[in-house]
Symmetry: C2
Subunit: 334 residues, 2 copies
Amino acid sequence: MVPDSLPPNTTVADVGERIMVARIVSACGSPPEVPTSTALVGPGDDAAVIRAEDGRVVVTTDMAVEGRHFRRDWSQAVDIGHRVAAANCADIAAMGAVPTGLVVALGLPDSIEVAWVEQLMSGLVAEAARAGASVIGGDVTAADSVVVSVAALGTLEGREPVLRTGARAGDVVAVAGRLGWAAAGLAVLSRGFRSPRALVDAHRRPQPSYAAGVAAARNGAHALMDVSDGLLIDAGRLALASGVGIDIDSASLIVDEPIASAAAAYNLDPLQWILGGGDDHALLAVFAPDAQIPEPFVPIGRVIDAVEQQVQPGEVRVDGRIPEVAAGFEHFRR
Amino acid sequence: MVPDSLPPNTTVADVGERIMVARIVSACGSPPEVPTSTALVGPGDDAAVIRAEDGRVVVTTDMAVEGRHFRRDWSQAVDIGHRVAAANCADIAAMGAVPTGLVVALGLPDSIEVAWVEQLMSGLVAEAARAGASVIGGDVTAADSVVVSVAALGTLEGREPVLRTGARAGDVVAVAGRLGWAAAGLAVLSRGFRSPRALVDAHRRPQPSYAAGVAAARNGAHALMDVSDGLLIDAGRLALASGVGIDIDSASLIVDEPIASAAAAYNLDPLQWILGGGDDHALLAVFAPDAQIPEPFVPIGRVIDAVEQQVQPGEVRVDGRIPEVAAGFEHFRR
């Protein structure tokens, strides 16, 4: 069923909940009674049903709030959809799993245009598809500002999940994906600019490597996580969960050209973004010293013994020293 | 790990994200590395892992927004937790499934007290436990008002899901659980009162019968759904999905004493609440004429052939006539 075309600027309040839901379900693709490759029951019933062939399901949730995670004047609806889906699917990949299905809960002000919501859904559906998943259900409710809350499911395909707890002293720390691009893009937008375009695009629509999570698991990664709040803060979380320290070799951190030029323009240290910036959803993995490190992971440091090296468990050093840049993003920071 | 006690009135902003998350994880029960009966990996890693023994998982999501679904001066945090978990678990039960795990995304203003969040979590955890599930993961973010977005997973235990699409002319329509209590309780609160207490409590903390969903599935229900927006509107959705009409016998709708007395006090028709009120999360089921209708379902009407009876598919009648009361709750209604 293709939705009827609406006059431009038609709002959610103009059409009401029933029609808005019907258009959202339509944006998800197939109707509920038609099974897809993964979804046995899709959107439109009380709940969806999805395959979990190895008898387990991986599940995560990530909420994005207007004015905190995105601004409607800085990002298009389709980009916001991509971004929220990417944050969720990256968490599934960070267990060594493959995303299968997303459910989407939307809080919408009355004044939001129907077309905006449909664009948001198209971004969610497209990014889910990039990760191998479909949007299988959701909820719509009124709210004062836009809230997009997604839960993603995934399959381990028979493998064991890769947790944050398995790093051991001597292991190699490696990263797959960009670091600092999204943070640099946000800095550009915050200063009222729209270029370098590559950085702004990276903020608007991160492109995590979902396949890297499976590759890390297949190559026996000891630990794996998603870098969503910044390399230093997230490496610290992994180190704390494993009871170890981490030492990052700054020479191994590639300063890509757009980051170098934006940093030069604003007279900033590019490492501020690379070590402290989140939202690119790179994957951080830890491998045994003799493991083959799979593409696209790049070694960036070593796991260190907390007792032997006299560091606190969870401490992250750069070139053996406590880094001077801000650690990363934290909500509720005063 | 038992969290340290905090001074009264300590806010989310006082402790910061890291400690707030640690206290939320602690409120969920066991740490991530300790598997429970259902959760192979619990809260604290990038994602949780939960059993799905029959190779499928049922999933739903439901978002509650402060000022729209609850008011912090009308409901305690623990009640709000119960209510949001109940809305989600009822959707799982409405597929004929059993809830197994919940993930919880919270949007929190800086000024919210840590103790309030912990009470919210304790309500979520307790209601999930009542339904047989545990809270296995989540996300915390800053927001201007409280948003609680839950996704619930469930198991069909090898059964087929019961959809909304299977109602046939001649089938018996039945309901399990209360109708109108939560709506009457909201009406009481809206008028500035706190009694009848039973109605106010029903609004604050609905008590759906999760077991009724499984019972309906085991007894071969043709269709099943959760009544969350009101009997008329939800029966209409089921009828529309099945391409039939429904005729409700008003004599079969029990007007419980607290509803009768509140309606008398406000000079209202109690059927307004019983037919139009949602949020009790009763289950609406449709059975073949010769099926055994399981406890606690009570027959309330019949499925009618849309063509033969000259009604629109999806039309719900009461005693053969188009009802005069409001249909039920819809977001974005102008």
